[in-house]
Amino acid sequence: MRSIRRFIDTAGWPRIIIGLLLLSLFIAAPSVGVRVDQSITDTIVRFGMNGILVLGMIPMVQTGCGLNFGLPLGIIAGLLGATISIEIGLTGIAGFLGAIALAIPFAVLLGWGYGKLLNRVKGDEMMIATYVGFSSVSFMCMMWMLLPYHSPKMIWGYGGSGLRTTISLDGFWPHILDNFWAIRIGRNFMIPTGMILFFALMALIMWAFFHTKTGTAMTAVGSNPDYARAAGINVDKMRTISVIMSTVYGAIGILVYQQSFGFIQLYNGPFYMALPAVAAILIGGASVNKANITNAVIGTFLFQGILTMTPSVINNAIQSDLSEVVRIIVSDGMIVYALTRATRKSR
């Protein structure tokens, strides 16, 4: 009895309920003709696609900069890396790693500026972050048209300039991680080993970072900035580092997402990435000023699991094609629910 109580205390009711809901969807799936193996595969793939974006929430939350609603900024850095990598004609693994290598400097630079900005608006970080996300996307909408890209794979067929809204990765690096050591059983079951391993690597780096002196200082800054200052920690510097990290994770995260998706989405694409990532980490049990890797893993799994399962089960149950509508309702519903749960641990 006590151990059950303890489990509930540590896991928290919201996660237990969502977890049970997900489980019941998996159980109900066969009876409406949804294949369980296919569903599991979809859930795992979506987990791998979104996991790093969610991990990227952790540093900023930990230093008290709040949830990174400015995630589009990191995504833009990732998009720049991806498009430049294609522009210079890198393909295969070199193309993917090249995209990462090219994206990181942009992410560091943008993150640095973004961090400096957030240091000036302490207390209102999340609102400003949202503006930064919006305005950077709008700004890039112009830039995607104007930047001097030439690769015929990417620019509009007519006109001859400006990038397309959706760029196919065919011939470059589609599914490059998914297929790496992929385990296939039958036609419908696949584990994208490479992508999961890559996620694990990124999680390990994050974990290790928070076990270093700098990572510990960041935790102190988030817990109590006054303590940190009295301990001789440069609070603003730690916050800036955390913003840079979050932005770099955003950039790498979107590249992993794209290789699995098979397409690069420009223009308004980055708009829709921040809220699901924010919702996932909140559902995973993070608060506005405390988050850890477990929160990211559990949250991504639950959020993406529900998002995969609900539309297909409902769709099959009522025999009509509402999946897109259901998907949006479920996704937005979970986001709204998660945001109402966004609490600040008391000081």
Binding site: K213, T216, A231, R347
Partner: protein, 538 residues
């Protein structure tokens, strides 16, 4: 008169925090107009018992309690503090709960604002009523006056000295007309003796109007000064309940700790001005709200324990906060002859100075983190301690084992009551949190140690222990200690010299053997005008 109905009865209260039992079958009655003293060691469960009474949410969140609480004979179960307030219970918590950006008036009348009807409110409901500011101000003034202190109702709380904050908090509780039971959790811990006396006098005055009071303090003399009855808690159980006149201080102290106490005074040394000067402070000014330092010049010698006293708000707390770079400061500070840049905490730490802040929750602790991290963080960040270099020093890995070891060492040395090194500091009792702050400073192994109010909220047994720890530390390592305290007796029991601060300046420096009267005169600034030469001891 017939048998009187007690205002409050608590029966068989038992409370566990995650399997850790902190209160066992506690029973407690309070009669009308009575002042009940509640004492016990750090972590005995006093605050927990009062949190139960006041319906604090932390209790329900951690699994509730068993037992019965009756007000005027009727059983009540408070879901939240508002229920308790409505039932006429007021509480001043161990830690401040004022809004810093509001004035005294606004804080006192928070949620009890005097409202004016206006046409908009008539149309759209009571939320749009306007405030009757002059009326509010006069209510606030009246309740401050009832306490017998002088506080301008328009002062911002952020700019008040701690003592005034405490009175403001008290005023907030007593202005309510329906008030019948007032709970005060260590209200005097932040006050100087004279301020505490004012508070005690006002408590007596309140009790005379029929309000019952539960009074928690670690200064036992205060219990004997004002309380009618005393309840002693030890390890969550009532070990004795008696009328104050039937017992005495020594007996109470022994019952609290569960062993007999030997009154041991630590001998102080005579001041020897020939030993080398470790720290010299020259024309220091510090802009710390409520504790402004105007012009302080001091020299402290190697191995000395130097005390700084004075009334609240005169600037004694500003000195260490300025030297350590926590508030804007000017002037010059040299340590071992080397000038220390001000306004730079990292530089102050690098110079071998450490500071135990008087504001333990604000500056001193990472409340949500484990206690081992709290103890080790500062040393780790400023001195690269508890770090294992990996990859040839490229990675500075946190050495969790070393951190736990040092935490265990201090838990032992300072007798910190906790469930283990990974318990969150938030969950410790106030006094034990204070000990964590000390451990944090000791872990820095400083050359010069500033301690502000080191025994605030610490029980009698632990107090002797903390002072002893400071003394031992000083003797063993030759650490120079500068101790700032509101308790003159404490300063006199351990310091080699004591400076009294008045209006942001040093009014004089006296040996601990000086009489209480001499200290008292310095504190109220009497000697200054006469150009007296008390300063000659410096």
């Amino acid at each position: 008169m017939t048998e009187q109905q007690p205002v409050l009865q608590m029966q068989d209260i038992t409370k566990e925090y995650f399997g850790n039992r902190v209160l066992t079958n506690v029973c407690l009655d309070v009669n009308r107009g009575e002042i009940l003293g509640l004492v016990g060691e750090n972590g005995a469960g006093k605050s927990t018992l009062m949190n139960i009474l006041f319906g604090m949410s932390i209790i329900a969140e951690t699994g509730g309690y068993t037992g019965k609480v009756c007000i005027d004979g009727k059983e009540v179960v408070f879901q939240n503090p508002f229920d308790a307030l409505r039932a006429g219970i007021g509480m001043v918590h161990q830690e401040f709960s004022l809004i810093p950006g509001f004035t005294a008036t606004e804080n006192i009348l928070l949620n009890g604002e005097v409202l004016h009807d206006n046409i908009v409110a008539k149309l759209f409901g009571p939320r749009l009523k306007t405030l009757d500011l002059p009326e509010m101000r006069s209510i606030a003034e009246k309740s401050i006056e009832l306490l017998g202190v002088e506080i301008n109702p328009d002062t911002l709380v952020a700019e008040m000295p701690v003592g005034h904050k405490q009175f403001t908090e008290l005023a907030r509780e007593i202005h309510r007309p329906e008030m019948k039971l007032l709970v005060l959790d260590e209200p005097t811990a932040v006050l100087t003796e004279s301020e505490a006396q004012v508070l005690l006098t006002s408590l007596r005055r309140l009790a005379a109007t029929g309000i019952s009071i539960i009074f928690i303090t670690h200064r036992l003399q205060e219990i004997f000064d004002v309380c009618d009855r005393i309840v002693i808690l030890r390890d969550g159980q009532v070990v004795k309940e008696a009328a104050t006149r039937d017992t005495d201080i020594v007996q109470v102290a022994e019952l609290m700790v569960g062993r007999s106490m030997s009154a041991k005074s630590v001998a102080t040394r005579a001041y020897d001005e020939k030993t080398e000067t470790v720290i010299s402070i020259d024309h220091l000014w510090v802009d710390m709200p409520g504790e402004t330092v105007r012009d302080v010049t001091l020299e402290v010698h190697k191995g000395e324990i130097f005390g700084i006293g004075g009334l609240a708000g005169q600037g004694k707390l500003g000195i260490p906060n300025g030297v350590m770079g926590l508030y804007p400061a000017g002037g010059s500070v040299t340590v071992h002859g080397k000038p220390i840049p001000l306004n730079d905490p990292a530089a102050a730490l690098a110079a071998g100075m450490a500071f135990v802040s008087e504001d333990r929750r604000g500056v001193g602790l990472l409340l949500e983190e484990a206690l081992d991290l709290n103890i080790a963080s500062t040393a780790m960040q400023s001195q690269n301690k508890f770090i294992r270099p990996l990859l040839g020093g490229l990675l500075k890995w946190r050495d969790d084992k070393a951190i736990q070891d040092v935490a265990r060492e201090y838990i032992e040395a300072l007798d910190i009551k906790c469930t283990g090194t990974s318990q969150r500091v938030e969950e410790l009792s106030g006094g034990n949190q204070q000990k964590i702050c000390l451990a944090k400073a000791f872990a820095l192994q400083p050359d010069v140690l500033f301690v502000s109010e080191p025994t605030r909220g610490i029980d009698v047994g632990a107090k002797a222990r903390v002072l002893e720890a400071l003394r031992t530390y000083n003797r063993k390592n030759g650490t120079t200690i500068i101790m700032i305290s509101s308790e003159l007796e404490e300063l006199r029991s351990i310091c080699d010299r004591i400076a009294i601060v008045d209006e942001g300046r040093i009014a004089g420096i006296l040996p601990p053997s000086a009489t209480a009267k001499e200290f008292g005169l310095l504190m109220i600034g009497k000697l200054k005008g006469e150009g007296s030469e008390v300063n000659s001891y410096a």
